[in-house]
Symmetry: D2
Subunit: 302 residues, 4 copies
């Protein structure tokens, strides 16, 4: 049995690694947090002392790490993956932005290591259930080699291109668009409610018309109309993805209008102390400003 590696056993990584183990993959793991490593060890993983130690044993290695800087350190640092003797392919499941991913791919290629870019969406619940969406790009042969493992991690596997970084671009474009659609839908709903329209009436029309989106179909009714603001995806994380997309636009010289306005709104939301609240709670800013609550109308409850 080929040995596989996993570095970064956080909120996302622990579930993904766990699923690989349950699928009978021999797994060698590493994380700066000993408790995270122990948890996986109890499930049958073998711990390694450093990323390099992982790469001395495993041919395919997955990373799920918090920031671009940490990914850089884990791969190219003194005890990094790139110095390992066994490693042939590295798959990065983190969100790092296209430039970073492209740079990693280029640097690894020079060392004879293949790189696959595979950021995910679907949150921790999707990671646990193995229903993540993966946006995969990189060398075709390398992608083929890791596909069997990826199928244990996600249920929507999209190969979006043959260059590292394209997976990142797709992920950022989608999340940026989600943020734009979200702010647009919340402000449109709040506008109609300020004009005396019952929000469920408005959504019924929009969802049969040109204004419909994932947000109007799923993220207002029920959550907002039922006043359910439990944290599923924090405003601060959404803002982080939008800002990465804006940086990418800056770097490539692509113009943005609506996404910049969404970012401005998210900046204000953060300044108003809402970074840790679920993004559905953002409706409250419009409610406060407009003086009208977006609530299911009473007649509806009959």
């Amino acid at each position: 049995m080929v040995t596989t590696g996993f570095v970064g056993l956080g909120s996302m990584g622990r579930h993904m690694a766990s699923r690989l183990l349950r699928a009978d993959t021999a797994l060698v793991v590493n994380d700066v947090n000993p408790a995270s490593v122990e948890a996986l060890q109890r499930q049958g993983a073998r711990p390694a002392a450093s990323p390099r130690a992982v790469a001395d044993e495993a041919g395919i290695i997955f990373c799920s790490l918090p920031t671009p800087d940490v990914v850089d350190q884990v791969i190219f640092g003194e005890d990094g993956l790139c110095h390992g003797s066994a490693v042939r392919t590295i798959v990065d499941l983190s969100t790092t932005g296209p430039r970073m991913s492209e740079r990693i791919g280029d640097a690894l290629r020079e060392r004879g290591i293949a790189f696959v870019d595979a950021p995910v969406s679907g949150g921790t619940s999707g990671a646990e259930a193995g229903t993540l969406t993966l946006m995969i790009s990189g060398d075709g042969a390398a992608i083929d080699a890791v596909m069997p493992s990826l199928r244990h991690i996600g249920s929507n596997l999209f190969v979006v291109g043959d260059k590292a970084g394209q997976g990142q671009t797709v992920k950022l474009a989608n999340n940026m668009l989600f943020a734009s659609n979200l702010v647009g839908a919340y402000e449109a709903t709040a506008l109609a409610v300020a004009g005396g329209v019952a929000p469920e009436r408005l959504l019924e029309v929009i969802n049969a018309s040109s204004g419909r989106s994932y947000v109007t179909e799923k993220r207002i009714d029920p959550p907002v109309l039922d006043r359910d603001f439990a944290v599923r995806f924090a405003t601060g994380l959404l803002r982080k993805d939008v800002k990465l997309a804006l940086q990418e636009a800056e770097a490539s010289g692509a113009l943005l209008f609506v996404a910049r306005a969404a970012a401005q709104f998210l900046d204000i939301a953060k300044a108003e102390g809402m970074a840790d609240e679920d993004y559905t709670a953002l409706i409250r800013l419009f409610e406060r400003w407009n003086g009208a609550e977006v609530r299911r109308s009473r007649t509806e409850a009959l």
Copy 2:
């Protein structure tokens, strides 16, 4: 057979009046343009010399007029509908904005005439096919009375409230949101393409993810990717609806972020001479600015 009236036989009104005639409605019509009247006459409608003359004969009267000012004139002018002896209910199918509609409803109520607010969407092709969406509000009994006629005009009839103006609010909120989603989707697609991603790959992911909308599902692939920019809904008309929504927000004190950015973009598009082009052609601005065409990738064509 009860006589029904119709004022305004333009691009939209001619088709709606025609459908009523074919459904065996006795129709008396008026329009400032004699040619428009003659066309309906040939289909069996009776012409009337003025809106007032229509209202001397018909109990239910429909209007489909270009601007709020014209609606005001047609209803309350010297020879206006409100002075007719037979009229009991007026249905306005025009897009005029909520304030105007509310004001008309109030003024007619004082004169004992019921008012139903019923702006439409679906374009001239929808008017011809009878597949328009109608956003209806006003007094319940009056709505019940006109519903049989409206069923000949549209196939999606939404009663959104019991006050005139709410139909307008819903229409403007939907169209404003459509414009926001549109600009957002075009700029996100253009960003990804500038980053080297094939647009059909991007859309495949987005349409299975949180960024999806009517725009990403229907208004990029095929029209944009096939470079089909035939005029269906002119940019100038979309801009007009967005501006009406912004005015409503101004009047009600509702805050908007993303819609203002979409309006700014539409202002630039108009200044760049694109008001008469289809809104799908707006992608060309991003293509020019970003230096990358949003075109189906060649490998896709295989």
Copy 3:
């Protein structure tokens, strides 16, 4: 002695009328508020029962009225100025926007009455002291005729064009620009303070450099740095002028970027309940959001 008329004796008008009286002008006045009329009567003015009654006696008439609608009513209403037998020239000192002013000028010309557009700036204290700035436009001969009176009202008299409405355009352009410069200066100062710079150090540099403006020279130090937020010009009034300018841009098709952002900020300020506060208090929003107060540094006080 020629009799002069004055309609609208509010916060601004009362002072201007008063100054004309003290300059030995025979004045006939009108206002819907009897108390306002009585106050001027005690200073020697003659009251008239309606605008028309004013216009039956006076050849030159000044208006200082709250909104475009009221100006329209006072001039063209049933008992309006235009029906008077003596009136030859009407001077409007109100802020109404260029379109309105142009329309008034055209309609009065048809009736053989000259119209001078002369919006003011300088506030109630300027009105009291006779130090207002006037932005005057209209027919040259009519302007010459009213100039002697205007010199009692303001100390900076600018003739900006020969068509009614141009005075309004200049006033709105200036106030819109002031608002842009204001928001820009407040956010730049707040940014530097968040970066640990003493605001008085920053202003010293800016006022010797390319960033300087009336705002950086006069409206931060002393008022903001001394935490003096006494109401001189309410945020709501500034917002009103900016919105009139935006409407004018909409009508003429002129594109705006920075002014729209300033308007968005003023919308938020209004939604946050600051419409009645002085515009200097707007710095507090940035202080709250950025978490840093724009205060004179202690070392400076030594």
Copy 4:
């Protein structure tokens, strides 16, 4: 005589170094471009093979370098200044942003080297004439030590704080504000001109009113009104400074409104191919969009 060092002999650095030489400073210089070094050699400077070689001889060293990365490399690279045996104080005249400058200051302090942050404004003509404005921050004693040299370089020396990075903050805040005021003034002028007002009439009023700024006083009349668009400060350079300021706002969490709109406009200007044109040429975008040229009116020429 103490030996002084200078690294970076580009458009700005060559003039500053030259002025120091003429003030009888013994100068050892380095630049990657041999021609630049030779030019200074002919004026009496001694060349050094690397930054480190400069730092082996000079106690005080000035840098004038293109980007933050290059500054980092020159100071901390293998052959960097920080490894020199003679260096006591490094003065950075480049625009690098506050974070970078702070980080350099901290890293140098650990090695016992003082750091002075002194970005300049005034362009190449100011560098040649010695009339630059300098925004200086850092340790007080170090500033005192370099002040005599700085007096040969600039004529407006502002000490804005005692921490490296504050000079950068002040420079970015000023330039960001200049860009905001510029876009605001151009759009306001273009709006008034579209409304039929002669621009010189408008400016006369604004320059006596609340809308005035360095831009309205110096950067429209004469340059724009005389159609003089010779390149003094390229749009692309202005945009770069605004973007650095936006990054700083992002990092410190400071909210910006007007500056973001100015940046959006500058993005469009760049996408329209104007990065290399003087910023005064930006008026042309408004002229094209609004359909009205901002030109001195003919009557004025009399």
